[in-house]
């Protein structure tokens, strides 16, 4: 599937900004067997005084910029063409839940995709007794790790309401869970807390979702802004599997990956403070158009 991606994030400030430094994780990821970048640009207005690119610990592309002080408006604009490939490993290769600890232990690595990074609390996803208890109930009856992941995702989707007013970007997962409402970030972080609570390594994925669904399919929730979902480690053979709890589906052709992390904090799309004081408003516009719909599954 070939996508045309256009993202505009615009910040407007009540008072001119101080000197600022930002890390942008906005460009689609290079994923050899899953996602190819055909073309891409990331424009920053006004022109930054410094700009460089590096790969972070998880292999995400980071654009570091420095902006001179005194800005009233800052705009980031991504234009990209991305080829999203079909995944073929739809068979459940994951082990039974009881065998997962031994498989985790067999992974003697601290590389970016080792399961160990997703096992314990991370800064924005502390362990939560309430979410862990919920997850235990939700996965009762699941035989394999993958079944458990899907069972928890379905349960959350059924019990939680998508509500953009319910939470803020800093709302802790336990609080969003208590209110049973939130946006994709909350869905993802609650599911991560639940998976870790039951011993399944889990991480956070940011990305895009196609805006217009394939003919005859419903429009997906979260397509009007950057999206977020979950990845879960399903054993040595199956590896990481991605799941979108906001839409209760496995991640497939409709999702385009930007970055992987332990939680939102690792891969915030725009990190770094610009504001000195006064008000700040931001607007995000995303348009993800499928250019060829023939490979739809």
């Amino acid at each position: 599937m070939l996508y045309d991606i256009r993202l505009v994030i615009r910040y407007t400030f009540g008072q001119p900004t101080g000197a600022g430094r930002q890390h942008l994780r906005l460009l689609p990821a290079w994923l050899p067997t899953q996602q190819h970048i055909v073309e891409e640009t990331l424009g920053v207005t006004p022109a930054p005084s410094e700009r460089r690119e590096f790969l972070d610990f998880f292999g995400n592309r980071v654009i570091e910029i420095a902006l001179a002080p005194g800005q009233k408006e800052v705009k980031f604009e991504v234009k990209a063409k991305v080829h999203r490939l079909v995944r073929t490993d739809w068979f459940d290769l994951s082990p039974p839940l009881v065998r997962l600890p031994a498989e985790i232990e067999s992974q003697k690595s601290l590389g970016p995709h080792a399961p160990h990074h997703g096992r314990t609390a991370s800064p924005r996803v502390p362990m939560s007794d309430a979410i862990t208890a919920y997850a235990r109930t939700a996965i009762a009856g699941a035989e394999t790790v993958r079944q458990a992941v899907e069972a928890l995702g379905l349960a959350l989707h059924a019990d939680m309401t998508f509500d953009s007013e319910a939470t803020e970007v800093d709302t802790p997962p336990e609080q969003a869970f208590a209110g049973r409402g939130g946006v994709c970030q909350d869905f993802a972080q609650i599911m991560i807390a639940g998976l870790r609570g039951v011993g399944i390594p889990a991480g956070y994925v940011s990305g895009f979702l196609r805006t217009i669904p394939p003919p005859g399919k419903p429009r997906l929730e979260g397509a009007d802004a950057m999206h977020a979902w979950v990845r879960a480690w399903c054993g040595a053979e199956a590896g990481w599997m991605e799941y979108d709890p906001t839409n209760a589906c496995l991640v497939g052709l409709d999702h385009i990956v930007v970055a992987y992390g332990r939680d939102y904090g690792d891969i915030a799309p725009v990190a770094g403070v610009l504001r000195l004081g006064g008000s700040q408003t931001s607007k995000q516009a995303v348009d993800i158009t499928a250019l060829d719909d023939d490979t739809a599954d």
Binding site: R21, Q22, Q107
Partner: protein, 791 residues
């Protein structure tokens, strides 16, 4: 005076009774005084008790005078406490220290190798020497630093080790301090204080000096700079940190600039200090704050004491950090369970000095060991980084836990450590030598020739008698550590041997934040003085004339309102708040003030607060205010007579002159106004501390013109507005950038205009309206100064 010198061979401190279960530093197993202590003990026992007390008082007085303190947090409050010096040093033989040093150097090399592996190829995990969860789940393992190679080639440059002597007499490592080891400054202060106590005998005791270690470390840091232009600075979290005193002390001792995160900005991968002379490059940062707080952009986003882009600078090789960010992971308690096995892997040799026996409860065999001997095991969090057995994560004895509690702790999140017994060392309790348990902190610095061990350190001595490590957490005291040689030791100073002709060094940079604090210190101290003088004049009138003075005193009200002062109280809150602000500013620049000046300010504050609770208006307040005024001028005198006349002093001076000019214009505009009640002019002269001058200059009576002339226009009167503007002009002209390419800066221009305006006036031109306008112009200078130097 006759001194009895006992025979060293038969020395026996009376009543000194070590514990049978633990070795003692002073006495050997047979109860004989160890040879290293004999000379010291002979002197000590030869002193009459009251003389010893006098000697001890000398050391305490030194610490008090230098303002040595540490900050203690308890019950949500943080208070400064005096440094608890134990007056008996711990004596260790040179040869034994040599052996200890070899063990520590090996361990320092091991930690460097572990650090390089954890932030590099991760062999320890991939080859199974270290469980991955201890690293991946460790908040001190900082992912943004993985793969970042230190510019200097080394991650670690200064390490501390907490060591103790076990029951068999051998030394053990109790904790590795690699994050931002504290204590080198306190070791130095302990030494200075202790030599005061033993000033008459210290020279003959053959004790190794500490200065050489500091000189070598200072030179090593200088050598890490990228070029001659860039600088070394010490990065402190600020005055609220528990060891801030030490940061300020060590900065002034070594001559490095003390900075806070907000003083730094990263430009194109190069860290720069914001100074009054613009951005100045910096290439070596000795950090005294924990890694996570260093950079809000890539580390803890909530930090307010960090510098965005610092990690980026490290990634680009623009900075050497002492120690590298992320080194806190080496303090992980559970790591101690693995280091003995890791040493042969990374170094090819076994540990020379063991660390305290540690079992990671994530392993089955280890869990069995814990269950076998719960009475000897302290269970605590595996990822804790504090000193063992101390603080919130100090842990609990396994045998004190219920079976359920113990079962909950037998997993990867917990670690068991042997509840070790420590050696005892003598301390003075009620004038008698008494054994108390102790641990010792040793310091290692990296030099171009490898690690150098400080010949000394400081010992922490437990307050409780039992010789268990657990007893340490109940507080206690700190003792100097003497490494004693059989021969005379070389005297070392901080001054390097001279080579080549004398070269005067350029004064250090002045960070903008420091300039800001100095300026405001000057202003607040002067404001305090102005308030005191006004209050005193008010209270004297009240005492002399009572209710009859009312109309005159009302004339002062607008002035009191300006400073938010309620004159119906003896020592009003507004006065105490101004003093608090002055101390807040002084605390931020403590490395630039003499200990005497700092003590004078603290003393003033204490006296004022003590007085505030009981002083009543009228005569009582007038006398109290006079006493405070004398203390205040003591501080001003210490500062202005002793400070080196460079930029730091200039900002303080400008602040002082500025505030005095502001105060005097307000006084004249209020009290020399034609509408002011009778007696106002005399009040103005009194508040301006110019009664004598006025009498001498003008034999005739007080008129508006004489007062305006003396307090406004007179160049010779150090209280006049003109005198303040003269001083400000002179200092502002010498600030960096006062004139650029022959053109005056905005500040210089405004200063000149304001100065000329006043200088060309005559008393009759300077009416109330002109005074208020002048005050507005002077206030504008403060904004321009801030704009030019403190942004």
């Amino acid at each position: 005076m006759l001194k009895v010198t006992p025979d060293p061979a038969t020395l026996r401190p009376e009543g000194y009774q070590p514990f049978p279960s633990a070795p003692d530093e002073l006495l050997d197993a047979e109860g004989q005084v160890r040879p290293v202590w004999r000379r010291f003990l002979a002197h000590f026992l030869g002193l009459p008790p009251d003389e010893m007390a006098r000697h001890c008082a000398r050391g305490d007085q030194y610490l008090l005078d230098s303002g040595v303190f540490y900050r203690q947090y308890s019950a949500g409050q943080s208070v400064e406490r005096p440094w608890p010096l134990s007056h008996i040093p711990v004596l260790i033989e040179e040869a034994e220290w040599q052996t200890i040093g070899e063990g520590l150097i090996q361990r320092a090399n091991l930690l460097e190798a572990v650090m390089a592996d954890l932030y590099g190829e991760n062999r320890l995990v991939s080859e199974g020497h270290l469980p991955p969860e201890l690293v991946a789940g460790n908040p001190e393992w900082l992912r943004p630093l993985v793969g970042v190679r230190p510019r200097s080639g080394h991650f670690l440059h200064l390490l501390a080790f907490e060591i103790g002597r076990g029951p068999d007499g051998d030394w053990w490592i109790l904790a590795d301090r690699a994050q931002a080891p504290s204590g080198v400054g306190f070791a130095l202060e302990n030494r200075v204080a202790t030599t005061r106590v033993y000033s008459d005998i210290f020279a003959g005791q053959h004790v190794h000096r500490l200065a050489g270690f500091f000189r070598t470390f200072r030179d090593a840091l200088q050598n890490l700079r990228h070029d001659g232009e860039s600088r070394v600075a010490i990065l402190t979290p600020g005055p609220l940190n528990e060891t801030y005193y030490e940061h300020a002390y060590i900065a002034s001792y070594l001559g490095f600039t003390l900075i806070q995160g907000e003083d730094l900005i990263v430009v194109d991968g190069e860290p720069m200090v914001r100074t009054v002379s613009g951005l100045r490059p910096l290439s070596v940062l000795w950090r005294r704050l924990d890694s996570a707080y260093a950079d809000p952009l890539e580390l803890n986003p909530d930090t307010r004491i960090g510098t965005p882009g610092l990690v980026s600078a490290l990634r680009l090789g623009g900075l050497t950090m002492v120690n590298a960010l992320g080194s806190g992971v080496l303090e992980t308690r559970a790591l101690m369970a693995f280091l003995p096995k890791i040493a042969p892997v990374l170094l090819g040799e076994k540990l020379k000095m063991p660390n305290i026996a540690t079992w990671w409860c994530g392993g089955e065999a280890e869990r069995d060991d814990v269950l076998d001997a719960p009475e000897r095991m302290i269970i605590s969090p595996a990822l804790a980084t504090g000193l063992p057995f101390e603080g919130a994560e100090g842990g609990e004895l396994a045998s004190n836990l219920s079976p359920e509690q113990l079962a909950e702790r037998l997993n990867a999140a917990w670690v068991a450590q042997e509840a070790v017994t420590l050696s005892t060392t003598p301390v003075l309790v009620n004038g008698k030598l008494t054994p108390r348990p102790m641990t010792l902190r040793a310091f290692l610095a990296r030099t171009p020739d490898g690690w150098q061990v400080m010949p000394g350190g400081f010992a922490r001595v437990g307050a409780a008698p039992e010789p268990s490590a657990v007893a340490m957490q109940r507080g206690g005291s700190a003792a100097d550590v003497w490494i004693v040689s059989d021969r005379e030791v070389e005297a070392v100073t901080m001054v390097p041997p001279t080579t080549g002709p004398y070269r005067r060094v350029t004064p250090a940079v002045l960070p903008s934040r420091a300039a800001d604090n100095l300026f405001w210190l000057g202003r607040y101290v002067e404001r305090t003085e102005g308030i005191v003088r006004l209050l005193r004049a008010h209270n004297v009138r009240l005492a002399e004339s009572g209710a009859a003075a009312a109309p005159l005193l009302e004339a002062l009200d607008p002035l009191f309102e300006t400073f938010d002062i309620d004159p119906s109280v003896g020592l009003p809150q507004g006065f105490l708040s101004t003093l608090t602000s002055a101390i807040g500013c002084a605390g931020q620049v403590r490395d630039r003030l003499s200990p005497d000046a700092w003590s004078a300010l603290i003393d003033l504050d204490k006296t004022a607060r003590r007085m505030a609770s009981r002083v009543t208006v009228g005569d009582d307040a007038a006398r109290a205010l006079s006493a405070l005024l004398r203390k205040l001028t003591g501080f001003s005198g210490l500062v202005h007579e002793n400070m080196y006349r460079f930029n730091a002093w200039r900002f303080l001076e400008i602040g002082r002159r500025h505030e005095r000019a502001m105060g005097m214009t307000a006084i004249l505009a209020t009290l020399a106004d034609p509408e002011a009640p009778a007696g106002s002019l005399d009040l103005a002269v009194e508040a301006g501390d110019s009664v004598l001058s006025h009498r001498r200059r003008f034999t005739f009576s007080t008129t508006r013109d004489t007062v305006i002339d003396l307090l406004g226009l007179d160049q010779m009167n150090p209280r006049s507005i003109r005198y303040q503007l003269d001083g400000m002009s002179e200092q502002i002209a010498r600030l960096p950038g006062a004139i650029a390419n022959g053109e005056l800066s905005d500040l210089s221009r405004a200063m000149l205009r304001c100065h000329t305006d006043l200088a060309t006036r005559r008393p009759e031109d300077l009416d109330t309206k002109a005074l208020w306008a002048l005050r507005g112009d002077i206030a504008g200078l403060s904004s321009l100064l801030t704009e030019a130097y403190m942004r």
